[in-house]
């Protein structure tokens, strides 16, 4: 088996295994909206337990401008829960990816995630442990919160199974919390979201919802998960070269969405079936520069005219970001896994500029406009014409790759297709 071309399951398969697309369950328990946000009381049946696994190790990615000088990272890799530690180490050690896989769970599903620490190839002297911190989760114990100083951490060649029972639907994020000033910046970050129990019922023409809104107001046709980050190469190079880096000197040079900087953000989700030109291959010095495809997550948003689109946004950078989608207004309906509603008061808001600080999450709806030949349009071979809108950082300093001329950084495209695309199967699905 060639580990570089197929890092375990492909991303789409992985998301399907995570329970996405499961048929909706009956809502015999009913929906109650209380002053503390909507809560579901006594659902009819507890859904099955979802069992997943992640491996933590080091690796390399490519940032634009350093194609010949891969950037050192730590990362989480999706792996099989039944694999032994020895086989995980021999298959995946040194092949980290960034960002970590997007997790999708159903409200009230039990979740078990086994984390295996594979160790670091580039730094055999560094015996760091790793953890999983599900950021924002209402925890029933510190044990699974992933903060080493108040619970436990997973050392090299060991495993721990984390347990979660998500009560609150919405968008969250997850990251390693072991020496997190370092481990978060150096790549151990991902998005996780919880689908509401309301999913599968039909309200207002929608069967998929961001929250148990009771009235369909958070219904969507397609959803996309985008994790914002920055990259401060000094920290990454320092870790690679056993040099100390002063965290309070933080000064990033690259700005990413799902681990990629524009124009990488426009490439589709990675797959071994893609032509090389549509993949981000990074020579991995851990293995004699054999190519890893270590940035698998796209941020390209492809939609049909009239689609109601949900953006699940999370920020695990250390900077505040102000995002815009010129030409399309944004309806912020949720934040921090909370429906923007207090009792009967609707606190959702419309905006053209979305602020999101570090550690925060936002659920944003927008309506894809009608296709128009009068607007700039481009041809997607085999799929016809599409209009382009951008989703980008308002701070133009974050639209550059290490200050190089030209567009870069925290920007992606929203493409509205004249000929409708097929329905979406998984979050952030891309169409080649």
């Amino acid at each position: 088996m060639n580990p570089q071309s197929d890092q375990g399951t492909t991303r789409r398969d992985f998301l399907k295994a995570a329970g996405l697309g499961a048929a909706g369950m009956s809502l015999a328990g009913g929906l109650v909206s209380t002053g503390f946000g909507s809560r579901l009381f006594a659902p009819a049946a507890r859904a099955a337990t979802t069992t997943l696994a992640l491996a933590a190790t080091d690796g390399y990615i490519t940032v634009p401008g350093r194609e010949n000088d891969p950037l050192y990272i730590f990362g989480f890799i999706p792996v099989s829960p039944s694999a032994t530690v020895a086989s995980l180490i021999s298959t995946y050690k040194g092949h980290a990816q960034h960002t970590a896989p997007t997790f999708s769970f159903k409200q009230w599903d039990d979740v078990k995630i086994t984390l295996t620490n594979l160790g670091l190839v580039q730094r055999p002297d560094l015996t760091d442990s790793h953890t999983i911190h599900w950021h924002g989760f209402d925890m029933p114990s510190p044990l699974n919160d992933g903060v080493p100083e108040v619970s436990v951490a997973v050392p090299i060649a060991k495993q721990l199974t984390y347990f979660y029972r998500p009560h609150r639907e919405g968008t969250y994020m997850y990251h390693c919390h072991f020496e997190d000033v370092e481990h978060v910046q150096i790549g151990m970050t991902g998005i996780v979201f919880v689908r509401p129990l309301q999913d599968g019922t039909s309200i207002g023409g929608f069967t998929k919802f961001a929250y148990n809104d009771g009235d369909g107001s958070t219904g969507y046709h397609r959803h996309f998960a985008i994790l914002l980050n920055e990259i401060w190469s000094n920290f990454h190079d320092g870790d690679r070269d056993i040099q100390e880096t002063i965290g309070s000197d933080y000064d990033p040079q690259w700005f990413t969405m799902n681990g990629r900087s524009y124009p990488q953000t426009l490439l589709p989700n990675d797959s071994s079936t893609l032509p090389a030109g549509m993949r981000i291959g990074t020579p991995n010095p851990n293995y004699g520069d054999a190519v890893d495809y270590s940035q698998p997550n796209s941020s390209l948003v492809q939609v049909n005219p009239g689609d109601r689109v949900l953006l699940r946004l999370a920020n695990l950078g250390y900077q505040q970001h102000s995002m815009q989608m010129p030409g399309i207004p944004l309806h912020v309906i949720g934040q921090d896994a909370s429906l923007l509603r207090d009792g009967a008061v609707d606190t959702s808001f419309w905006t053209n500029t979305l602020y999101i600080g570090p550690g925060e999450a936002r659920d944003v709806l927008f309506e894809a406009p009608a296709y128009s030949d009068a607007l700039p349009h481009f041809t997607h071979p085999g799929r016809g014409e599409y209009n382009v809108y951008s989703f980008k950082n308002r701070d133009w300093r974050r639209l550059s790759n290490n200050g190089a001329p030209g567009a870069g950084g925290m920007m992606t495209e929203v493409r509205v297709y004249q000929t409708p695309l097929p329905p979406q199967n998984v979050v952030s699905e891309t169409y080649v």
Partner: protein, 589 residues
């Protein structure tokens, strides 16, 4: 990367009880709580509330061993020669006043340049007497005074800070919190719609420090404010883990305010967290473990146009430079996992596969609230009785540092206490002289109300047969309060035909050992106890010698941390004393 920790790291929360809890003279009012908001009383005369403040220079300490010059407000008082840092505190004193009061603040300036106070958010005019007009308000030159007067018109959380040479003076530390309580009651944040538990009120005042600028001020050097580069990040004037030390900690004489947030699980009214940002940067603050509910911003309740509450829940909220935000916090736990009736659906992790970072942890060894488990030898636990700890910290993780050391800076912990206090069970049993002999069982049988009994045969001769034994609780912390004892047991006949042969009921007394007087103090009984379990308690142990001190019941020296509860039963025929459950509940310090 592994980092060495300075000694200060080890002097963190769990061992605070062993440290002097005395409040340094001139720092905090007597009777101030060790955790939570500390108000400066000032002087109240009719409807006027006045404070006498000074602006002083002093030094603060950072956990990585640094020593930084700060300028700050303090309460003007006679200097105490035993206090190394007289009349200095960082941040400035928390001023708590009541809605409608006339607030009068006299400021005496001990700094080498003119200074002043401005009150952002006070819409009513602030009049100033004395000093000379500055850019924003009257300011007092060095060694001079100025007095400010205004009406505390609206309840809320506000900052006060210097209005003179602000780029330098506010950076140097001239800021503090002003709390205006609604006239409707001290248990309301803003009014009837925002009740909170007044014993759970917390302040988190955020700021940053550029040590180079402070050094330049200290040495008379030059500095460029546009090159501000912060390396220290504070909550209530301290960086983590100093944020966990008590209010008025002797270790931090010029930084009197701690930032630990401590609530019981299932708190009835929510805790109130008042956040203020006195710094130049916006700070994204992240509570672990539960959502907080943001109810107000800049001293104004978040309301719909119709006046209905429009709060929102957060697990990450950026508080902007100069802003204040108020949050309610309740520990919501829909699962209530416990080891007896609802254990976690996954096996407990094996320590062979885990590490405790740096051999130091706040973990109790058990994931269940109120329970302590075992930890590997050599691991120091700061956990007292199975309470939970969750970090509250800036998620701009470059601020989660003390200069170059991670896990520091703008962070504190949330401590969730078990409902009803810490509970514990005996770790040994002893049968007293002339108190009978062991029949069966060990101390572990006293840990659960079940079918297992710790059983003691009474004496078998004489007109009075006696069973007298005690369960010993250990590691009860110095300063534990509100001891509550529960005992459940029965008396059985001496036969072996059944588990509990019939016998007449016998008088049973439950007592607690007073180490100071070397005597057993009766808690309950004598009560007739037969073959059916009788429950004694929960019995509140009265504090001795004062109502708030239970120290005489907690052993010291070789008996450190020990509490003994005796079960004493007599009868005219031989019998078996059977203990089912013996429990001690207490509030940890």
């Amino acid at each position: 990367m592994n980092r060495t920790r300075r000694l200060g790291w080890l002097l963190a929360l769990g061992t605070v009880a062993a440290l002097l809890a005395q409040v340094p003279a001139g720092a905090l009012p007597p009777g101030s709580p060790k955790v939570g908001l500390v108000c400066t009383p000032g002087t109240v005369s009719g409807s006027t509330h006045s404070f006498n403040l000074v602006a002083n220079a002093g030094h603060i300490q950072t956990p990585d061993g640094n020593h930084i010059l700060m300028w700050s407000y303090a309460v003007a008082a006679a200097a105490d020669p035993t206090d190394l840092w007289p009349n200095f505190q960082s941040p400035g004193p928390v001023l708590c006043v009541k809605e409608g009061e006339t607030v009068q603040i006299q400021l005496h300036n001990n700094l080498p340049e003119p200074t002043s106070i401005v009150f952002p958010g006070q819409d009513a005019p602030v009049t100033a007497i004395g000093g000379s007009p500055g850019l924003f308000t009257n300011e007092a030159a060095g060694s001079n005074d100025v007095t400010y007067t205004f009406t505390a018109a609206k309840p809320g959380t506000y900052l006060y800070e210097s209005g003179s040479n602000v780029s330098k003076q506010v950076e140097m530390g001239l800021y503090g919190a002003l709390i205006i309580r609604p006239s409707a009651g001290n248990n309301l944040a803003y009014g009837a719609t925002t009740p909170f538990d007044p014993s759970r009120e917390f302040m988190l005042l955020l700021a940053e420090i550029d040590p180079d600028l402070h050094h330049a001020v200290e040495t008379g050097g030059t500095y460029d404010f546009t090159k501000l580069h912060n390396h220290y990040f504070t909550i209530n004037g301290r960086s983590f883990p100093d944020t966990l030390q008590d209010n008025g900690s002797d270790l931090l004489p010029s930084q009197p305010y701690g930032a630990l947030v401590r609530i019981p699980a299932h708190i009835v009214q929510p805790a109130l967290i008042r956040m203020l940002n006195a710094g130049t940067d916006n700070h994204p603050f992240h509570p672990h473990g539960n959502h907080t509910r943001e109810i107000a911003q800049d001293g104004r309740l978040l309301l719909s146009p119709g006046g209905a509450r429009a709060s929102s829940e957060r697990f990450g909220e950026t508080i902007g430079s100069g802003q204040t935000k108020d949050y309610l916090l309740r520990w919501d736990d829909q699962d209530n996992f416990n080891p007896i009736s609802k254990p976690f659906p996954v096996a407990q992790p094996n320590y062979r596969n885990l590490t405790f970072k740096d051999g130091l942890t706040w973990y109790s060894g058990s994931p269940y609230l109120g329970y302590k488990g075992t930890l590997p030898t050599g691991t120091t636990s700061l956990n007292i009785c199975g309470e939970w700890y969750f970090p509250f910290h800036s998620h701009a993780l470059n601020e989660f540092t003390n200069f170059d050391e991670p896990f520091g800076g703008m962070a504190t912990l949330l401590r969730v206490d078990p409902q009803g206090g810490c509970f514990t069970f005996p770790s040994s049993t002893t049968i007293l002289a002339n108190g009978g002999t062991l029949r069966s069982g060990t101390y572990t049988y006293l840990g659960l109300d079940d079918s297992l009994y710790y059983r003691v045969n009474s004496t078998t001769t004489g007109t009075t047969r006696t069973a007298s034994w005690y369960g010993q609780f250990s590691t009860i912390p110095n300063g534990a309060k509100n001891l509550v004892v529960t005992y459940k047991g029965r008396n059985c006949g001496t036969g072996t035909a059944t588990a509990c042969p019939a016998t007449t009921s016998k008088p049973t007394t439950v007592s607690i050992w007073n180490w100071a007087t070397s005597a057993w103090v009766t808690l309950a009984g004598p009560t007739p106890v037969g073959t059916t379990d009788v429950t004694f308690g929960p019995i509140a142990v009265t504090g001795s010698p004062t109502a708030t001190s239970w120290a005489n019941y907690i052993g010291t020296g070789t008996n450190r941390g020990r509490v003994r509860v005796r079960v004493f039963t007599t009868g005219t025929t031989s019998f078996v004393s059977g203990g089912n459950l013996m429990q001690l509940v207490y509030d940890a310090p």
